[in-house]
Amino acid sequence: MIPMKNLLKIQLLILFVLGVAGLCTNVMAQQKPSPQFNKMMAESFRSEGIASVDRITQDATQKFCSDPQFVSTVAGAIKAQELQRLNMATISPPSDGSYLGDWKSGEAIAQSGRGGTWTDTANTTNGGGCYNCHEIDKKEISHGNIGPSLWNYGKIRGNSQEILTYTWNRINNSKAYNACSNMPRFGHFKILNEKQIQDLMALLIDPQSPVNQ
């Protein structure tokens, strides 16, 4: 493992290099607002069940990430840092001070992709849908690859406070580390509750979890 501080340094270095290159070639601003586009989006959707039309409204992070050309510029990289700080500020540590719950429940949460659609209800128990994108327990061969493999997550990284905090934060609000991460902000948007996140943490980090065998 490369220590976190070094990672930051490397990131800054990359930023600097990008910056120099960018100054010469890349003068790019955020995409212009398009009234025609906004009109289309406003007229093309309707509310259905729990999925109401206000979901079309974007927050600052979503707006930024909808403009991949700008994201790839220097100005974009600077903006990303600012949004990451903003997202980091939304995270609270576990209220009972405990990071690890029950890995068995965690596995069930990782398997379930339910919740949040117009065919769900407010009472639907949401899943994390983790296997949609990640390999976790190797026994589950039906896993996606949009995110990195989490097999042996705890075995490789251990369970230091640094790892606990990082993992907790990442599940709660992945955009605190990567403004345009593909991972939903499970804590921030209350997709999962604190107990569910503790259970997922256990699936990843508990030495007893099948993930760490």
């Binding site: 025609q36 309707r46 991949p68 659609t117 896993h143 996606g144 593909n182």
Partner: protein, 270 residues
């Protein structure tokens, strides 16, 4: 220094091995899935919808008791062969860019007197949408093997493409998903389903060229409208209105990216 280099080498080696084994496992699973798909490929139940659709196309129906045989899908009244491969396109009579379903709604309304709203309001797979599914199956079967060929010559077509591209990257909702979250890079999967990269020609041909399709998981024939509807559902977006501009814009974006590819419609999907 040398120690650090040694560790670095070790890590590299470890990584290579890890990736290697993982790749091997993933590959054998992929081969098995490919065999499964090959085995289900013959006998596409879309044919059952197509048969029903041909009848609906030729049979007088609706309040005006007329058939759809004079419907202009862009290549002249009644021309079905290859029509789906050139949609969406701009239609002068409606002054709109239309995809297959929205164009068929125009024909059903004008020729047969079936109100478009009744099609829009119907649930998928029932009533007028059931008829629509069958008619779509019939029309797209007659574009099988044809080259995808949409035009951006008309400014409205060009504008539609640009808005489709913008909509493709539009991130919103409680999951922060855009179309690009799943379909913006190559070699990605959800569970075991390969996700076509719709920003590339290859990926766009794979997707646009194989929908509409019969889905074995639901045992239903899905039009592109329904395919997009379910994408938005899983994206945790609100409900896209049937035949609305965002669905047509995204279709135009995909079709344009797929231009030159071959239509394999109707497809057969998991």
């Amino acid at each position: 220094m040398t120690l650090a280099r040694g560790i670095f080498k070790n890590i590299l080696f470890l990584l290579a091995t890890l990736i290697g084994t993982h790749y091997a496992i993933a590959q054998s699973t992929a081969d098995d899935i490919a065999k499964y798909r090959e085995m289900i490929a013959e006998g596409n139940p879309s044919e059952l919808y197509e048969m029903a659709g041909e009848e609906l196309w030729k049979k007088p129906g609706g309040p005006k008791n007329a058939s759809l045989e004079k419907c202009d899908l862009g290549m002249g009244p009644g021309v079905v062969d290859g029509a789906a491969a050139q949609l969406p396109r701009y239609f002068k009579d409606t002054n709109r860019v239309q995809d297959l379903e929205s164009r068929l709604m125009t024909c059903m309304e004008r020729l047969q007197g079936i109100a478009s709203q009744s099609v829009i309001d119907a649930k998928f797979g029932v009533g007028p949408k059931k008829d629509m599914d069958a008619i779509v199956a019939y029309v797209v079967t007659h574009s099988k093997g044809k080259k995808i060929k949409v035009s951006l010559a008309n400014p409205k077509e060009k504008a539609m493409y640009e808005m489709g591209k913008r909509a493709f990257y539009y991130e919103a909702g409680p999951f922060d998903f855009s179309c690009a979250s799943c379909h913006g890079s190559s070699g990605k999967r959800i569970r075991l389903q390969d996700l076509p990269n719709l920003t590339t020609h290859e990926g766009a041909v794979a997707a646009w060229g194989s929908w509409p399709a019969y889905r074995v998981s639901s045992g239903q024939f899905w039009t592109m409208q329904q395919r997009l509807n379910d994408c938005f559902r899983q994206q945790r977006f609100p409900f896209p209105i049937y035949g609305s501009d965002v669905t047509i814009a995204l279709s135009m974006y995909m079709a344009k990216n797929a231009n030159g590819g071959i239509m394999q419609t109707p497809g057969l999907k998991r």
